[in-house]
């Protein structure tokens, strides 16, 4: 803002179409031509279209009442909030679906495993039984349990579980000094 506007009483009366004379350069006269910001109120509207240096005031938005401003703020806030809620709902919903599905999948896997455990058990026991039956036949060459063919070992005496490292014998406490 290198310019100031001089407003005087005769300025309005002796307006001859050039506002040049109304301007006082504060710094250098070469910049005077570019000056445009002149408040509307000091110029008569009739002179505006004719003067090239006439400056047009931009329309400023009307100042909203406080109540309306609050409501707009509320609307924007609630929009963001609602958006967040929708996103959260979607995430939670998809999570529950995923969880359900994964639980169901794990459950089915478990059932399959249990069934195959049953199968393995069944086959294993059937095999054991048929082996035992085969072993019973005299041609199999197995001998029945008989004490004369068995070796009985007496259990070893229980040893202390912790092996004590050979400790140097603690010197016997001497109640009185020994003389050599």
């Amino acid at each position: 803002m290198g310019f100031a506007v001089r407003v005087d009483a005769d300025g309005a009366r002796h307006n001859d179409g050039s506002s040049q004379s109304n301007l006082v350069s504060l710094h250098s006269p070469s910049h005077v031509a570019g000056a445009q910001s002149i408040p509307d109120a000091v110029h008569s509207p009739a002179s505006k279209p004719s003067t090239p240096a006439e400056v047009k005031q931009l329309p400023t938005a009307p100042r909203l009442p406080l109540g309306l401003k609050l409501l707009v703020g509320l609307q924007q806030g609630s929009t963001i909030f609602t958006g967040g809620l929708v996103a959260a709902a979607l995430v939670i919903y998809s999570w529950t679906v995923y969880l359900d599905k994964s639980v169901a999948r794990a459950f089915r896997e478990l059932e399959v495993l249990k069934v195959s455990t049953q199968q393995v058990t069944t086959v294993n026991e059937t095999l054991k039984h048929s082996m035992a039956e085969q072993a019973e036949s005299p041609t199999a060459g197995f001998k029945p349990f008989e004490p004369k063919r068995a070796i009985f070992l007496a259990p070893a005496p229980v040893r202390p579980s912790v092996e004590h490292a050979p400790m140097p014998e603690a010197p016997a406490p001497m109640s009185h000094p020994l003389g050599y």
Partner: protein
């Protein structure tokens, strides 16, 4: 703007993401007519709002008004899908965790030729190949009927999976639960069976059905009705039985019963310390997998459901009573005249004709020669009412507490009959005139083996997890004390003499000290008289120096003149004891 203000508020909830609404634009200056964009916009908007309202109303109706009804309808449709029906049960295992009973899924396969996508010849060839059946028979059946042909039953899971992977049209695989008994006939008298309808019918399957059934749990399937199915936890019912010993016992018992053409037989091995039964072989027996082929009489376990007169195997119990009451001392002499008259009844020793009266013999000899007259003289010293109280105290007439179903209670004469009639006490002295089941006799001998404690015989250890920890255990009463340790030690030593040099010699096992007593009882026939039928038995206690195991063999009606406890039952006990000492790790007795 005024005209759009109200609808905008209505629209607001649905169009949150479009804050810049076309209606917010300054109104056009053009005159209103039908073609104006604003009119068209309002129309379209109103139409959309109406559609939305309609859809919402429909949704509300479906969800809130008809919801329950539709849910029921959906359930009905889903439940018609084939599922594995029937409650399933926990496996039963033996002492070493060998499986005795386990559930398995088997399939019944139905074919519907009208739905075949391939030719019938091709289907018959494929099916015949997988199921190992003749293609021609299959093809013939396919030609006969258009639908619902039962092609195979009891098809295993593996085969069913192979069939499913072939992706053949027109085949139905219906799963069903089946109880499988891998050991076949070995344990059937204990374990029992489940019939084709899935109901337990005998044995432990019947007696412990509540413990064997799995709890139901909800199925966590999304979008499915909350159907329940058994929660197959890993608990299993463990028995105290040892399959290996059972196998030995069953084989030897079968051989003995066959050799003497006996009616039935049983062999019990009991651990006297807690009453756990290690082996309970019964013959005749059946395969529970094919129970429908068995004779109905075979379903009962006669060891618990039949009574018999124990005969001489009861004599050691009587001696223990007399010793406990202080009526005799171990080395006392009793006069055995060989024959006694009781009113119109005659009581005589079994060898009276051959040997006659034995004269004065000590208590050990009474048992060694199984002298009936000697026993009568011993028990005459006990007041008959006290004697009857002893029999009651020992549990005759009440249940032993074994888990097997249909236990028959011992039959005693009434107290007044027993007290007023001397012959009743006299016959009871040598084990006749009353009856009990073999399990109870084994229980009484366990009291001799364990120092006088009356333990409850049992076959069930409880429900165990895979690590073998008990999750459930049947309640058992604490055994009462019958005899003192000195009394039982004395009686077991006397029984050792029976095996060493008496009627029990055939049961001797080299290097082992075995106490025993033979029994040959006459069987009462259907008229209540003693007939020709015999019931021979032998009870053994081992090892004498530290008694623990009781082995009882009972053979019902062996044929042949030479069928006695000593000739039939004692060798059977010997054969089982030989395996028992090895399996249980009983070291040979050190020479005295």
């Amino acid at each position: 703007m005024g005209s759009t203000g109200v609808p905008y508020l209505l629209l607001y909830p649905f169009m949150v993401t479009q804050p810049s609404n076309p209606f917010q634009r300054p109104p056009a200056r053009r005159p209103r007519h039908l073609a104006s964009p604003r009119f068209r916009l309002v129309t379209v908007w109103a139409f959309l709002v109406l559609v939305m309202l309609g859809l919402s109303a429909r949704l509300i109706r479906l969800q809130l008004v008809m919801g329950d009804q539709l849910k029921v309808q959906a359930q009905e449709q889903r439940q018609s899908l084939p599922q594995v029906p029937r409650a399933s049960r926990r496996p039963i295992i033996d002492r070493q965790a060998n499986v005795l009973a386990v559930d398995r899924v088997v399939y019944t396969i139905y074919a519907h030729p009208m739905l075949f996508s391939r030719s019938r010849e091709e289907m018959a060839a494929t099916l015949g190949n997988v199921l190992n059946r003749s293609q021609d028979t299959l093809l013939q059946r396919f030609q006969e009927q258009e639908t619902g042909i039962q092609v195979a039953v009891d098809v295993s899971e593996e085969l069913a999976e192979r069939l499913r992977n072939l992706r053949l049209d027109g085949l139905d695989l219906l799963p069903s639960q089946q109880r499988f008994y891998p050991q076949q006939a070995l344990m059937s008298q204990l374990v029992g069976y489940i019939n084709l309808e899935g109901e337990p019918q005998a044995g432990l399957e019947y007696a412990l059905q509540d413990q064997l059934l799995y709890d139901l749990e909800d199925v966590p399937f999304p979008n499915s009705l909350q159907q329940q199915q058994p929660n197959r936890d890993d608990l299993r019912l463990q028995l105290t039985l040892d399959s290996r010993l059972q196998r030995v016992a069953q084989r030897n018992l079968d051989a003995t019963v066959r050799r003497y053409s006996a009616k039935q037989g049983a062999l019990i091995v009991m651990d006297s310390r807690d009453g756990a039964i290690l082996s309970l072989a019964v013959t005749p027996t059946y395969d529970p997998n094919r129970y429908y082929e068995a004779n109905v009489e075979q379903f009962k376990n006669w060891v618990v459901s039949d009574l018999y007169e124990p005969g001489s195997t009861f004599k050691p119990i009587n001696v223990a009573i007399a010793l406990e009451e202080g009526l005799i001392v171990p080395d006392e002499y009793i006069y055995d005249e060989g024959k006694l008259e009781y009113d119109q009844w005659t009581i005589q020793n079994v060898d009276y004709k051959a040997v006659g009266g034995r004269g004065s013999i000590n208590i050990t000899d009474v048992l060694r020669h199984s002298s009936n007259v000697g026993m009568v003289h011993i028990m005459e010293r006990l007041k008959r009412s006290d004697y009857y109280s002893w029999l009651e105290k020992m549990g005759l007439g009440s249940s032993t507490g074994i888990e097997l179903p249909a236990e028959a209670l011992a039959q005693l004469k009434s107290r007044s009959q027993f007290v007023n009639n001397p012959v009743e006490a006299a016959t009871t002295a040598f084990g006749q005139g009353f009856s009990l089941n073999p399990i109870q006799l084994a229980q009484l001998h366990s009291a001799l083996a364990n120092g006088g404690q009356l333990v409850s015989p049992h076959v069930v250890r409880g429900l165990v997890d895979p690590e073998g920890n008990l999750a459930w255990q049947p309640q058992r009463p604490d055994g009462k004390k019958l005899f003192s340790k000195e009394t039982t030690q004395t009686v077991v030593k006397m029984m050792e003499a029976v095996v060493e040099s008496g009627s029990g010699q055939p049961a001797q096992v080299a290097n082992y000290r075995l106490g025993g007593k033979t029994g040959t009882a006459q069987k009462a026939n259907e008229y209540g008289e003693y007939g020709d039928g015999r019931l021979v038995s032998f009870v053994g206690i081992l090892p004498v120096e530290n008694p623990r195991y009781v082995v009882l063999a009972v053979i019902d009606e062996p044929l042949g003149e030479d069928s006695y406890g000593s000739t039939v039952a004692a060798p059977l006990v010997k054969s089982v004891v030989e395996s028992l000492v090895v399996m249980a790790g009983v070291p040979p007795s050190t020479a005295e």
